[in-house]
Symmetry: C2
Subunit: 270 residues, 2 copies
């Protein structure tokens, strides 16, 4: 059997990345882990996010994954640089790819980034963007309530509109033409964000570009799946109960998610 | 030294109970634990809340506490009944006391309860109230975004007003005269809740009555502190970084909270 790709997130947001991998790399097996017992990560400290991420990477390695995608901006910002040095298999996050796309699509070179408190405070997007093009100016805005809103399923809701207007209103004072959705939950409220920002602002969803980077990486290492035209195997693991995850994942993903392929595990043991 | 009382919560909400204990039992030493790395509990499953609560009870016992107060409605609803059978020291939650007060203050016998999804789904307040007075009717409403709002510090904010209007609007259709604040975070947005419910609805904060029950319990067991007129010792432990907790606790509590009495621990080890 082909070794799977491991994908993890603090909860369900990373499913937007898993969805993109399923679309662009339909021959790959996937193991997804969502840390639903400890979600959210965005307001937690770098040390805690690193400790949680290490446990998840340990768990994914027990599933014999050939590569890992950190499908969580907060973990990509706060844990990836350290973990990259600690393991032998390739591991990539969502930030570099997101920054690269933003750099390509901006015309005014004024870029906005929205994300969790942890991601925005780390200023990691700013650093990445400045390395790519030193003329770029970046304005970041933490939107701490977006994750609880999405996790509650309020993706099309007046309350979400209100909160988004407030957060994004501040960004509208800057002359940005590109906005990075710097949290994997945010593509799920993309319509709301697009409506408020107006059509002159291009939204960048790092999931797409991250998957392209993943494909290149797997090809370079010679570990792209060679099994064509077969049904890929998708397994899901969560740290809390499976029910809520199933109903959410079944909405987000193009494939069937049910009690047969979702399992609850004790992540603290890893 | 007098043995301390252990108090725990999923995060900072339980500080409203700690504050009440400090006021009513000024001679008691306290050890507070806030599970800030894994907050919130309210949307998580009963098994996860039980596992987390057990770890915290184990930790508090290493501090040689003489009694434990579960200052979290979700943990009181989902974990207390089990843990009560597993340990030898007295342990009480916030629900019985809250139900008792509501029963005493209601005139119409129509009582509302707001809390997390876990607390409301458990129907524990309904069961407690019906046992106290079978004529009482209870209407429960989960308010899942209140905890993230409070944890973000948005205690007086237009967004909190909007969300509260939506949640509580549904309750206004019932003819309740009493509303139980069935989550220890909610007293921190009491003004908002009171404004929306109107002055004809009495708000019940279980913290006050829980502390009275605690006092009775300690007296019955002969373990009330006998050391009068001395400075009590308050220690705080959290599972995430201390900074955010300190700034929050310093606002809520009447005493000084700083880096000397707050410590971060790895709760997963217990």
């Amino acid at each position: 059997m082909e070794k799977p790709i491991g994908v993890f997130d603090s909860g369900v947001g990373g499913l937007t990345v898993a969805r993109e991998i399923m679309r662009q790399l339909p021959n790959e097996n996937l193991v997804y882990f969502g840390d639903t017992a400890r979600v959210p990560y965005g307001s937690k400290s770098p040390n805690t996010v690193l400790r949680f991420s290490r446990q998840i990477v340990n768990f994914l390695q027990t599933k014999d994954v050939k590569a890992i995608v950190v499908a969580c901006n907060t973990a990509s910002a706060l844990a990836l640089p350290t973990i990259q040095k600690e393991i032998d298999i390739p591991i990539i996050g969502v930030i570099e790819a997101g920054a690269k796309t933003a750099c390509e699509v901006t015309e005014t070179k004024h870029i906005g980034v929205i994300g969790t408190e942890g991601t925005i405070k780390s200023r990691i997007y700013t650093k990445c963007l400045m390395e790519l093009d030193s003329e770029i100016t970046v304005v970041g805005k933490a939107c701490p309530l977006f994750v609880p809103l999405v996790e509650e399923g309020l993706v099309e809701d007046r309350i979400t509109d209100d909160i988004a207007s407030r957060y994004l209103g501040e960004l509208k004072d800057y002359d940005i033409d590109t906005l990075i959705l710097g949290c994997t939950h945010y593509p799920l409220i993309r319509n709301t964000i697009a409506r408020i920002m107006g059509e002159e602002v291009k939204l960048v969803n790092p999931a797409y570009e991250t998957t392209k980077s993943l494909k290149t990486l797997l090809a370079e290492r010679g570990i792209l799946s060679k099994e064509k035209n077969r049904e890929p195997i998708y397994e899901y693991y969560v740290s809390d109960a499976v029910e809520r995850f199933i109903s959410f994942a079944d909405d987000v993903l193009p494939c069937n998610v049910n009690e047969e392929n979702v399992q609850s595990i004790d992540i603290e043991e890893y």
